[in-house]
């Protein structure tokens, strides 16, 4: 890099302009110092440390599954936002909008990317958990981050579960019917759960099919208009909001607990 000052190519010159310099304060990362500064100065890149142990860049050690889970989450966010332009969460329109998405939207593979991406994210999150277990990375001082990770795993599956209903086809409502029937069997809180009949005042039952856990989940006694709206709001706003909070904690704690796990 010694004589790069004399013969600069076009990219090199662009990198020296005032505009580019104002955006990337560090300049072209040539020196060791600059390469560290580019990580430290950038809001996104500084999720990383500036340096890390060699094992942290070995694919056979990391499998890259945590990073890919986050990336697929971003892909799902982008495709999800695009889908929201076309989709109306009502019983009259939902299915028709799916047909339109398939047949009217040019180059319409957003729904495909969203659906297959969702499957892929569930798988990559599971594999990430498996890697963390097999390398013993949950051991002190990372115990709590493992707990946060389990919460993220549950939220991932709930996000996928709520999204399952939205196409409003046979697969969707019956899968959600099967899934939500379980909520009706919650001990004490479900109308068909053990102990619910004990929660009564004389002859008046407090837990009925119109006032139990299943009803709260579906916003109705069966999978209908109320459930569709509830699942839509949870899928697009509620759960992403919660998962973002836990993801922030998760990434923060990866750094604070000492970065990627290494032998003691």
């Amino acid at each position: 890099m010694a004589n790069s000052g004399d013969k600069k190519n076009i990219l090199g010159r662009i990198a020296e302009t005032q505009v580019v310099k104002s955006i990337f304060r560090t300049g072209v990362p040539r020196s060791r110092r600059q390469r560290m500064m580019i990580i430290l100065n950038d809001v996104f890149l500084h999720l990383h440390p500036a340096r890390l142990p060699v094992s942290g860049v070995k694919l056979k050690y990391t499998w890259c599954m945590g990073g890919l889970s986050f990336f697929i989450f971003l892909v799902l966010t982008v495709t999800g936002i695009l889908l929201m332009f076309y989709y109306r969460p009502t019983v009259e329109y939902a299915y028709g909008d799916m047909i339109d998405l398939r047949e009217q939207v040019p180059l319409g593979i957003m729904r495909e990317i969203h659906r297959w991406g969702a499957h892929l994210m569930v798988i990559s999150v599971w594999l990430h958990m498996f890697r963390v277990f097999m390398t013993g990375a949950y051991k002190p001082p990372r115990e709590f981050n493992w707990v946060v990770g389990v919460i993220l795993l549950v939220l991932t599956m709930l996000l996928s579960f709520t999204g399952y209903l939205l196409p409003w086809d046979q697969l969707a409502i019956w899968a959600i019917t099967v899934g939500s029937n379980m909520a009706g069997a919650t001990p004490f809180a479900g109308a068909l759960g053990p102990g619910s009949s004990l929660l009564a005042l004389g002859d008046v039952n407090f837990i009925t099919p119109s006032s139990d856990a299943r009803f709260a989940l579906l916003g109705g006694r069966f999978v209908g208009e109320g459930a569709l709206l509830r699942f839509y709001v949870l899928h697009c706003i509620g759960l992403p909001f919660i998962i973002m909070i836990f993801m922030s904690v998760h990434f923060w704690r990866v750094r604070k607990d000492g970065g990627i796990s290494t032998p003691l």
Binding site: L59, C64, I109, R115, I123, F161, L171, M182
Partner: protein
């Protein structure tokens, strides 16, 4: 060929395959020295070598390739929503192999008195820019390409419009919950759908607080963490991945079992003559009427549950789990052993069902309380 298909249809029945896999998994991931020696004698650890991996995955690919020549197999496996689960099966086995291969390599190094290969790596540091950033960049490009190709080749399924009056047969939950749905065969919804998922989540969260072993952080190793890996991998492979596989590929109309090469016949009948423990106890063993009083009726079940969760833990603490009890202390040990017993209750209930047609250990339908 037909004979082979019949054989596979027979062997994949849960009551045959599950016990086989359970024994095999415990031998593959031996929790203690005795089983570890058997593993060595049978040379099962050879699977975690390059050759073992090549043979294993060739067999797996060959099985799927052969299966795709069968119309029934092909129909189920190539359903668009089932494709990811086929991928999951390959990925899980592949990464299991990757981790165990490295674990055995590290164990061999440490036996020679050397440190794990990760320990050597950790001494040297590299810059995140460019070393890590480029890896991330390349892997996310590859991931994007994979997703785009997959999306172009395979249309997202869309079935008939929702119709609350016509329920498809079988009605299946989303695939990642099919393990829970499969448990419904053996347990009531309040257990399979509510209590077990809660216990699974809490149990996962408790892992770092129950594993008192300080060794094995930040590198692959089997020898130093035999017990932990054995428990986790068994539960993960058998109670998670295997149950999902059965629920996805092998459960057809009326949730009946169908072998991978079997036609999903709606009219297939499976005779169910399941009996409660109380009926066994009073009618078959003592040849008398089942008592009217609920408490008296369910006394055998209560006795069994109390001894399972009340007497077994202290007994185990004195015998098999003596060291664990010493390391964890009374409270953590209780949590550990109760979680383990709840997990073990699934195969136990399965075996009771298969061997004796037991429906419920405790059956109080009056309060929806059936175990």
């Amino acid at each position: 060929m037909e004979a082979f298909k019949d054989f596979v249809n027979h062997v994949t029945r849960p009551r045959v395959l599950f016990p086989l896999l359970l024994v095999f998994t415990v031998l593959m991931f031996p929790p203690n020295e005795i089983l570890f020696k058997i593993n060595k004698k049978l040379r099962l650890y050879k699977l975690w070598t390059r050759m073992g991996g090549i043979i294993f995955f060739s067999l797996m690919i060959a099985f799927f390739a052969f299966g795709l020549t069968d119309p029934n197999f092909k129909k189920i496996v190539t359903k668009p929503d089932n494709v990811p689960i086929v991928g999951l099966l390959f990925l899980v086995n592949f990464f299991l192999w990757v981790s165990m291969k490295q674990a055995y390599e590290n164990d061999a190094r440490m036996d020679e008195g050397k440190e794990s290969s990760e320990a050597g790596d950790a001494k040297e540091k590299v810059l995140v820019w460019p070393d890590l950033v480029y890896i991330e960049f390349i892997s996310l490009i590859l991931c994007t390409i994979l997703l785009m190709v997959w999306s172009i080749l395979l249309k997202a399924p869309l079935e008939e419009p929702a119709n609350p009056t016509v329920s498809p047969n079988p009605s299946k939950a989303p695939w990642y919950f099919l393990g829970l749905q499969e448990m419904l065969v053996y347990f009531d919804p309040w257990l399979a759908g509510v209590v077990f998922p809660t216990v699974i989540i809490l149990g996962l969260m408790a892992i770092p607080y129950l594993d008192s072993n300080k060794k094995g952080r930040g590198y692959y190793s089997f020898k130093e963490r035999k017990m932990a890996i054995s428990i986790f991998v068994t539960l993960w492979l058998l109670f998670w991945i295997f149950l999902i596989t059965v629920g996805t590929f092998l459960r057809g109309p009326n949730w009946n079992f169908f072998g991978p090469f079997e036609y999903w016949d709606v009219n297939k009948l499976e005779v169910l003559t399941n009996v409660n423990l109380s009926e066994y106890f009073y009618m078959i063993w003592f040849k008398r009427q089942v008592p009217q009083n609920i408490i008296l009726r369910e006394l055998p079940g209560f006795f069994l549950m109390v001894s399972y969760f009340g007497i077994l833990p202290p007994l185990l603490a004195k015998t098999l789990f003596r060291n664990i009890f010493k390391n964890l202390g009374a409270f953590r040990y209780s949590v550990f052993v109760v979680l383990l017993l709840i997990a073990a209750s699934l195969p136990m209930k399965m075996f009771l069902r298969w061997a004796f047609n037991i429906k419920y250990i405790i059956a109080i339908p009056e309060f929806f309380f059936n175990i």
